[in-house]
Symmetry: C2
Subunit: 376 residues, 2 copies
């Protein structure tokens, strides 16, 4: 008599284990570099998949910038004992297979999949420390938002990683509020990859869960620029909110912003695809950022005060030391626009900087229609 189905499944288990141990050396090994709010959520997503899928080693190593907690304990010790990042993502279990490691070199030495998710200002220093310390076959992905836009063009984090470490680098961006994903609310993200579709699929496998849908597009620059430029549009949206101009005007400003994001990205990188802006990294992240988010919030306060209190002052009061990316990105974008003679092509971007630097009143956000008609 044939054994019941459940028994059959048990019978085959040892074989699977054998197979797994055979292929163990070929399994991908993942290290997450960064352990803030978003880094911890990324580790949680990844850890659920490395356990489930035989193509990955179970263990996910997470480099943690070591801190001593008020209790006197080390943050890494607490994470490893409790499976929780009690400082940056309290109340959420990361998975028992997440191992916090305070030693950056040790954390990356065996990994062939490196997930970068630190504040962008630390990236250059981290790359210098990693030089010569990583596997030559490693692949990287950057979740770092907020790259800088220098006068000669944007300083892409993916390019920084590729150039400094000599490895290929993809990006993952999207409408990703870390605390909402942590509690498994439905969300989406976009992987931007350069050439190798198989590499992209491996990243999708690593992050994808039923509540976190990941799509890959062959457009690193488009995806990465979306993550930065949306903050400029969020400042504009905040002005509209502060002026109480209604949903109609806000939607118009968000649309014009999306159009300038697309046009700016394509002028800088002709390979950027229109379709990228329909992905989560484009329209969805823009919507999230313009509905909530600190850029929108402080810009709203700025407009409510008629521009009489500076962004610096409002930031200090409202953000407990965090800085607004939108205002500095707007200034950086403005420099690129002036430098290249493109100011008239981007009336919304230009106006955001002119308002936030005090040259124009907040109401100017909707008074550039003549410019706009001239340019498009």
């Amino acid at each position: 008599m044939a054994p019941p189905a459940a028994f059959e499944a048990q019978e085959t288990l040892p074989q699977n284990n054998l197979l797994n141990s055979d292929t163990a050396s070929h399994r991908s090994k993942v290290t997450v570099i960064g352990s803030g709010n978003w880094g911890s959520v990324a580790a949680k997503l990844i850890a659920s998949n490395t356990l489930r899928l035989s193509t990955f080693h179970d263990e996910v190593r997470m480099w943690v910038y070591e801190e001593t907690l008020q209790s006197g304990e080390k943050l890494t010790d607490v994470i490893n004992q409790t499976n929780e990042n009690v400082k940056y993502l309290p109340g959420i279990k990361l998975g028992k297979n997440v191992v916090a490691d305070p030693d950056l070199e040790n954390a990356v030495k065996d990994a062939n999949m490196l997930v970068f998710v630190t504040p962008h200002q630390f990236m250059e220093g981290i790359c210098i420390r990693l030089l010569g310390k990583i596997r030559s076959d490693a692949e990287a992905i950057s979740l770092v938002k907020g790259m800088e836009v220098k006068m000669e063009g944007p300083c892409m984090i993916s390019t920084l990683i590729s150039q400094q470490l000599g490895i290929n680098c993809s990006v993952l961006m999207g409408a990703n509020i870390a605390n909402e994903i942590a509690v498994e609310k439905f969300s989406e993200a976009t992987v931007g990859y350069r050439q190798n579709r198989e590499v992209a699929e491996r990243w999708v496998q690593l992050f994808y869960t039923p509540y976190f849908i990941v799509t890959a597009v062959q457009d690193v620059e488009g995806v990465e620029l979306c993550g930065t430029l949306k903050n400029v549009v969020a400042i504009a949206a905040g002005f509209v909110d502060g002026l109480e101009m209604g949903n109609n005007t806000k939607a118009a400003i968000m649309r014009l912003g999306l159009r300038e994001m697309k046009a700016f990205s394509k002028l800088l990188f002709p390979s950027v695809k229109d379709s990228t802006f329909f992905e989560s990294c484009g329209v969805a992240d823009l919507i999230t950022t313009c509905l909530g988010g600190r850029n929108r919030k402080v810009a709203e306060a700025y407009a409510k005060n008629g521009g009489k209190r500076s962004f610096d002052e409002l930031e200090a009061e409202m953000l407990q030391g965090q800085k607004l990316q939108g205002v500095s990105t707007a200034r950086e974008v403005y420099e690129v626009l002036s430098h290249r003679g493109w100011l008239e092509l981007f009336p919304l971007f230009a106006t955001v900087h002119e308002i936030s630097s005090g040259l124009l009143p907040p109401s100017a956000i909707v008074e550039y229609s003549e410019k706009q008609v001239r340019s498009f």
Copy 2:
């Protein structure tokens, strides 16, 4: 001595008048068919331009479905005496050159530009009454939202007008909350035209003001379908709000909705352009409708009640007799999808109908990820 500049300008005035009277017979004459909230705002926009531009007759005739007001006065008389549509747009001056006319045939007889802006259920009857009564060289534009989607495909209002009256018909759609445009808050709209760019430019001239930016795209079907399908997405967005799932999830659902709007329109009309969905009629109208709007609002209440109170019941309670377009459009779209075997291609549209008809609970709105991955 040369006269001062102001005098020169006066001197040339009679010449201009002479020129104008020469070309008067070539000037376009506009009639607005409809005088509700949006129709009255449209008349106001148009009237400001016909006064300003010599290519149009000053007078804008507005057909008004005659009503007797509580005061005993006729609505048309009051509009013509006060320049206000006291019933549907109180407090807003339409312009002295707007002439309310209760006689449909008389209102259209001299016009070569017909602006249709009535509830969609009246359009068929109006077309029948207009047959043989309009100028053969007339051009039409439809501002009517909420066309029906029949099993054999959508019943486009622009097609209805073209077929019944034998004239060309463009459309104007966008993120257009009438009361906000009435008080001159910044907004945008999209004209969809079929072939003749000059005709499109005439419509743009007629509607464009510094606070109402109009852009023309050669895509009647794409523009018109946006105006209908967004209501289905707004129902989905309302479910997310009712379930308090946050901005992240809401943005993801709006993005998936936009993608299905695009895919559905392109399957029905291969001529529909991707770029149309970046216009005001696309992403901006979707945002406005999903932020405010009655479809979103009633769907939110439906989800808050766990689907235990029907849409009919909530509509009756919340909308004072108005009906939700999103729910009926979702049902109509569902019929097209089943009929053509496309249900799996449109998990969001299908799920909206399955929820609103009581087959699935509201939480199903984010539980179709497996379907979604299968289909895209």
